[in-house]
C-alpha cells in the first residue's frame, strides 16, 4: 500500500478525528482571514478618516508684493489675479480631489416671463431699489466652497454644481419654500433694467440689462444662522444667496463692461482639497514648483489644522488595530503548531507499528503530512466562505449601517493564508516528528501508555 492511499484511508476511516482537525483548521484560518480583512477595512476607514479632515491649501494673491496706491480712504492693490489656466494646472496634480474659486455680484431672480422675485428681508429699511437683489456667486465646484466645507450650508436636495455644469443654480431652502421652487425648475438669472438704472445713477455708463436661463439643480439648508439679520442688507442674507456655475455668472455680467473686465481678470483666491492630508507637504511643494506661475505674486497657505490636531490620535487607532491583528495571526500560527504536535504525539503507537512493518520513516512522515494537507485544503477553502459570512454579518449586527459588503475577503489575503497555512503544517509536523522518528519501533511500543 502506497503512502497516498494510506493517508486517504486514514482520513476516511478515522472520520471523527479527521472532522476534529478539519474544524480546528477551519476555525483558525477563518480567524486569520477575518482578521486580515478587518485590517484592510481599518486601513480604508483610516484613509477616509484622514480625508474627512478636509485638508486643503489656499492660493492667494500676494498683497505684500503688490503695488499699493491710495484711492480716497482706501488702498488699492495692483497684483496679478489667479487665472483659469493656473487653477487647471494645479488641479491636474495627483492627490488633489477637488477645488473651488468664486466671484460674487448682485443679480436678480426672475421667472421665464421676466417677473421679478422679491428677496427675503429682515431689516427695517427695505429699500425699493434693493428689494430684488440677491448675492450671487460664480463657482467651479460648490461642494468645495467654504460655505459648504465649513458646514455653514448643507445641500439638502439635488446635487452640487461641478466644473462641467452650465446654466445651473443652487438656492436656499428658505427661498425655495417662499416661492415653491423645486429642483428642476427653470428661472432667469438677471441683471435687470432697474439694476442698470440704479448703477447709471451712480455714474456707470457701459451697462445694459441681460439674463441667462438657469435650472435649479440643488437646494441648500442654512446650518449656521447669521446673528444679526435685522442689520443686514437682504443681498447679504444667506437665505438670498444663489450659487451658479462660473460660465453663467460671467455670461450674465458680460453686458456690464467694468464687471465683465473684473470677472475676466481672474480670482482672488482658490482652494484645493486633498485626498490624503499626509501628502500636503509634497503636493504643495510640487505646486510651488510649477514654473509657469510667477510665485512672487501668489501665496500658498496650508489649511491642515484639523488634521494636525488629530493626526496622532488617528494613526494610533490604525496602529492599535493592526497590532491586534498581528498578534492574532502570530498566535494562530503558534496554536496550529501546538495542535499538530499534539496530533503527531497521539499517533505514536501507530508510528511504532508502521515502523515495525518496515515502512521507511520519511514515508510515515509523508503520510501524516499528506493527511493533514488533505484536510487543510478543504478547511482552508471553506474558511473563505465562513470568514466572508462572519465578518460581514458581525459588522451588520454591530451596526446596521455597515452592509455585509464592507468587510470582505480579498483573494490576495486568501492565497496568503492558504500558502502560509500549508507551510506551517509542513514545518510543525516535520519538527514534532523528529523525536518520534529518532526512536526504534521497540522503544516506541514499550513507551506506550
Amino acid at each position: 500500500m502506497n503512502t497516498p492511499k494510506r493517508s486517504l484511508l486514514y482520513v476516511i476511516r478515522k472520520r471523527s478525528r479527521t472532522g476534529l482537525l478539519f474544524v480546528i483548521l477551519l476555525v483558525v484560518s477563518t480567524l486569520v482571514l477575518s482578521g486580515l480583512s478587518i485590517m484592510d477595512a481599518a486601513g480604508d476607514s483610516s484613509a477616509e478618516l484622514r480625508e474627512s479632515t478636509g485638508t486643503s491649501f489656499t492660493m492667494e494673491r500676494n498683497l505684500s508684493t503688490a503695488t499699493r496706491s491710495n484711492s480716497g480712504n482706501n488702498f488699492v492693490y495692483q497684483q496679478e489675479y489667479i487665472a483659469d489656466e493656473m487653477i487647471e494646472k494645479i488641479s491636474d496634480i495627483d492627490g488633489i480631489k477637488g477645488y473651488n474659486a468664486k466671484i460674487g455680484g448682485y443679480l436678480e431672480l426672475q421667472n421665464l416671463d421676466g417677473d421679478r422675485f422679491e428677496t427675503i428681508v429682515y431689516n427695517k429699511w427695505n429699500e425699493e431699489d434693493l428689494k430684488y437683489d440677491i448675492g450671487t456667486f460664480g463657482c467651479f465646484n460648490t461642494a468645495y466652497d467654504s460655505f459648504f466645507t465649513s458646514n455653514q450650508f448643507e445641500l439638502s436636495e439635488g446635487r452640487h454644481i461641478a466644473t462641467d455644469d452650465k446654466q445651473v443654480i443652487l438656492i436656499s431652502d428658505d427661498l425655495a419654500e417662499k416661492y415653491n421652487f423645486k429642483v428642476g425648475d427653470k428661472l432667469k438669472l438677471t441683471l435687470s433694467e432697474e439694476q442698470v438704472q440704479f448703477e447709471k445713477r451712480y455714474g456707470v455708463s457701459d451697462i445694459s440689462a441681460n439674463s441667462v436661463d438657469v435650472e435649479i439643480i440643488g437646494i441648500y439648508k442654512i446650518l449656521e444662522e447669521q446673528s444679526d439679520k435685522e442689520t443686514l442688507g437682504q443681498y447679504e442674507l444667506y437665505e438670498n444667496y444663489v450659487f451658479t456655475d462660473m460660465a453663467t455668472f460671467k455670461e450674465v455680467f458680460s453686458t456690464w463692461a467694468v464687471a465683465a473686465k473684473e470677472n475676466e481678470q481672474g480670482y482672488e483666491s482658490a482652494d484645493f482639497f486633498l485626498t490624503d492630508p499626509a501628502q500636503l507637504g509634497s503636493i504643495m511643494s510640487e505646486v510651488s514648483n510649477i514654473s509657469s506661475i510667477n510665485w512672487n505674486n501668489f501665496t500658498l497657505t496650508a489649511n491642515d489644522e484639523v488634521f494636525q490636531q488629530s493626526a496622532s490620535s488617528m494613526s494610533n487607532v490604525e496602529k492599535l488595530i493592526t497590532t491586534m491583528i498581528i498578534v492574532v495571526v502570530v498566535i494562530a500560527a503558534v496554536i496550529i503548531t501546538l495542535i499538530l504536535s499534539m496530533w503527531v504525539r497521539s499517533r505514536m503507537r501507530e508510528t511504532g507499528i508502521l515502523m515495525s512493518t518496515g515502512i521507511p520513516k520519511y514515508k510515515i512522515v509523508a503520510q501524516y503530512v499528506l493527511e493533514t494537507v488533505l484536510i487543510a485544503i478543504f478547511a482552508f477553502a471553506l474558511s473563505y466562505f465562513t470568514s466572508n459570512a462572519i465578518a460581514g454579518n458581525l459588522g451588520h449586527i454591530i451596526d446596521s449601517t455597515i452592509t455585509a459588503g464592507d468587510v470582505h475577503i480579498a483573494i490576495s489575503n486568501f492565497i496568503l493564508v492558504f500558502c502560509t497555512g500549508i507551510a506551517v503544517i509542513l514545518a510543525s509536523i516535520g519538527i514534532s516528528s523528529i523525536p518520534v522518528m529518532q526512536m526504534n519501533p521497540r522503544e516506541i511500543l514499550s513507551k506506550m501508555s
Binding site: S16, L20, I24, V27, L31, S34, G35, I38, A41, S45, E48, L49, S52, T53, G54, N74, K124, W125, L130, S150, D228, T231, G233, E236, G281, M284, A302, D304, E305, V306, Q308, Q309, S310, A311, S312, S313, S315, N316, V317, E318, K319, L320, I321, T323, M324, V327, V328, I331, V334, I335, L338, I339, S341, M342, W343, S346, A391, I398, V407, S449
Partner: protein, 448 residues
C-alpha cells in the same frame, strides 16, 4: 486513589502532554487578554480622535429676556463633559457721551443717507466675558492695538476703535459714558441708566467691512466692547448680569446631545425660547469613518473571543478522545464515570491555573511593548508637520487628550479566567459524553 491524586499524578508523569496543553491554554488566554487590552486602548484612541476634533455649542438665550445669568453659567460649567465656558456675550447699540453728558462723534461718511432717529451718536455695543473671543476679533480681523482685552471680572471698562478714539481725542485711561435714549428703545419717556466706562484698550479692523450700504451705527469704527456688568446696568440696572448667548466647549463632541439635554434640566431658564447651535463640523465629517473603526474593533474582539472559545473546546475534545483507551481501562476497573470525568477536568484545571496565571504577565509585557511603540511613533509624527504654526496648535491640543495606555485591566482577567474555566468544564464534559455512554468493552474494542 482519589480522582484528585490520579489527576495530579497524570499531570506530573505525562510532562510532555501536560506541557502541550499548558502552552495551548497559555497562548489562547494571552491572545484574548492582549486583544482585550488593545481593544480598550483603541476605544481610548477613538475618544482621543473625537476630543482632538473638538466640539462646542452656542446657547442663544436672546429670547429669554436675561435669564442666562452668571449663576446659570456656573451650573452649565459644572455639567460632566463641559470643558469650559469659552465666552458669553450680548450685543446691542448704545449712545456715546462724555462724562459731562456731551454727545461723542461717530463715523458717518460711509453711512447710508437716512440715519435712523436716535442713533446719531450711537454704535454697536458688544458685551463679552472675554473680548478676544468675540467673533469680530476671532474671524472678522479685529486687532487690539494698545491696552488689554476685557476678561472675566472686569467692570466699567471698554475697548474702542482707533477711529473713534481719534475722532473724539480719547485715549487709554480716559472715561466716557454709554447711554440709551427714548428713540433707540422706542419708549417715549425712557429714563436711562447711563454707565461710565474706562477705556482699557484700542482696536482696529484689518479686513474691510463687507457691506457698502451700512447705517452708521453698524460700522466697525463705531463699535464699542464692554464688560457684561456695565452692559446689564445700561439696559436694566435692577437686573443681574446676563448674557444673550454663551459659547460652551465640551470634551467629547459625541456627547453634545446628552450635555445639552442635561443643561436643559437646569431651573430658572425658559429653555423653549433658547436656541442651541452645535459647532462640531470636524466631528460630523469624521463621524462615519470613526464609527466604522470603532465597529471594526468590536467585530475583531467578538471574532477573537468566539474563535478562542471554539478552539479551546476543540482542543480539549481532541484531548479527551486521546484518553479513550485509559477511560476504558478505568471503567473496567469499576471506577465511576463521573469520577473519571472529574479527574479529566481536574487535570486541565490544574494546568489551566498555571497557564492563566502566567498569561497575565505575558500579555502585560506584550501590551506594554505595544504601548511603548505607539508613544514613540506618536511623538515622532507630531514633528513631521507642514507648518510650524500648526504644529504648535497640534501640540497644545494633544495635551488635553485622554491618556492612552495599553494595559491588561482586572476586568479583562476576570473575563478570561471566568470564561476559560467555564469552557474547560463544559467542553471536557461534552466531549466525554459519547465515551461515557459506551461500555468498557465497546471502548476497548474500538481502540485503534
Amino acid at each position: 486513589m482519589s480522582f484528585i491524586k490520579r489527576a495530579f499524578l497524570h499531570t506530573t508523569r505525562k510532562i510532555g502532554k501536560s506541557l502541550l496543553i499548558f502552552f495551548v491554554l497559555l497562548i489562547i488566554s494571552t491572545l484574548v487578554l492582549t486583544c482585550l487590552s488593545v481593544c480598550s486602548a483603541t476605544n481610548t484612541a477613538v475618544l482621543n480622535v473625537r476630543e482632538s476634533l473638538g466640539g462646542s455649542y452656542t446657547l442663544n438665550a436672546k429670547g429669554t429676556d436675561g435669564q442666562l445669568t452668571n449663576s446659570i453659567l456656573d451650573q452649565i460649567a459644572q455639567i460632566d463633559g463641559v470643558e469650559r465656558i469659552d465666552n458669553a456675550r450680548s450685543e446691542s447699540y448704545a449712545e456715546y457721551k462724555t462724562s459731562d453728558g456731551v454727545s461723542l462723534e461717530v463715523k458717518k461718511d460711509a453711512a447710508f443717507d437716512d440715519m435712523t432717529k436716535g442713533f446719531e451718536h450711537a454704535g454697536k455695543l458688544q458685551s463679552n466675558l472675554y473680548s478676544e473671543k468675540d467673533g469680530l476679533f476671532v474671524s472678522e480681523g479685529f486687532e487690539l492695538l494698545e491696552g488689554r482685552n476685557i476678561t472675566k471680572g472686569d467692570e466699567n471698562v471698554a475697548l474702542i476703535h482707533e477711529d473713534f478714539a481719534k475722532r473724539n481725542g480719547l485715549d487709554i485711561g480716559d472715561t466716557f459714558v454709554l447711554d440709551l435714549n427714548g428713540d433707540m428703545v422706542e419708549i417715549p419717556d425712557y429714563v436711562s441708566t447711563p454707565v461710565e466706562v474706562e477705556i482699557i484698550g484700542i482696536f482696529t479692523h484689518t479686513t474691510e467691512q463687507e457691506t457698502a450700504l451700512n447705517v452708521s451705527y453698524t460700522l466697525y469704527e463705531n463699535t464699542v466692547f464692554t464688560d457684561p456688568v456695565s452692559f446689564a446696568q445700561l439696559f436694566d440696572a435692577r437686573r443681574d448680569t446676563y448674557y444673550s448667548n454663551a459659547e460652551i466647549v465640551v470634551n467629547d463632541p459625541a456627547r453634545l446631545d446628552a450635555i445639552v439635554a442635561e443643561m436643559e434640566t437646569i431651573d430658572g431658564v425658559d429653555w423653549d425660547s433658547c436656541n442651541v447651535t452645535y459647532h462640531d463640523k470636524d466631528y460630523q465629517n469624521a463621524k462615519e469613518p470613526l464609527e466604522s473603526l470603532g465597529n471594526l474593533v468590536s467585530i475583531s474582539i467578538v471574532i477573537i473571543i468566539i474563535v478562542s472559545v471554539a478552539l479551546l473546546a476543540l482542543i480539549l475534545a481532541l484531548w479527551v478522545r486521546n484518553r479513550l483507551h485509559e477511560t476504558g481501562v478505568f471503567m473496567s476497573m469499576g471506577l465511576g464515570k463521573f469520577n473519571i470525568l472529574l479527574q479529566h477536568i481536574t487535570e486541565i484545571i490544574l494546568v489551566a491555573v498555571l497557564a492563566f496565571a502566567l498569561s497575565f504577565p505575558v500579555s502585560s509585557v506584550i501590551a506594554q511593548k505595544v504601548g511603548d511603540t505607539l508613544l514613540e511613533q506618536t511623538t515622532a509624527s507630531v514633528t513631521e508637520t507642514v507648518s510650524n504654526e500648526n504644529a504648535d496648535e497640534a501640540g497644545s491640543a494633544a495635551s488635553g487628550l485622554s491618556n492612552l495606555e495599553v494595559e491588561v485591566a482586572p476586568l479583562h482577567l476576570l473575563i478570561v479566567y471566568g470564561m476559560g474555566t467555564l469552557v474547560i468544564i463544559l467542553s471536557v464534559a461534552i466531549a466525554a459524553l459519547p465515551i461515557m455512554k459506551m461500555k468498557p468493552k465497546e471502548i476497548l474494542s474500538s481502540l485503534s
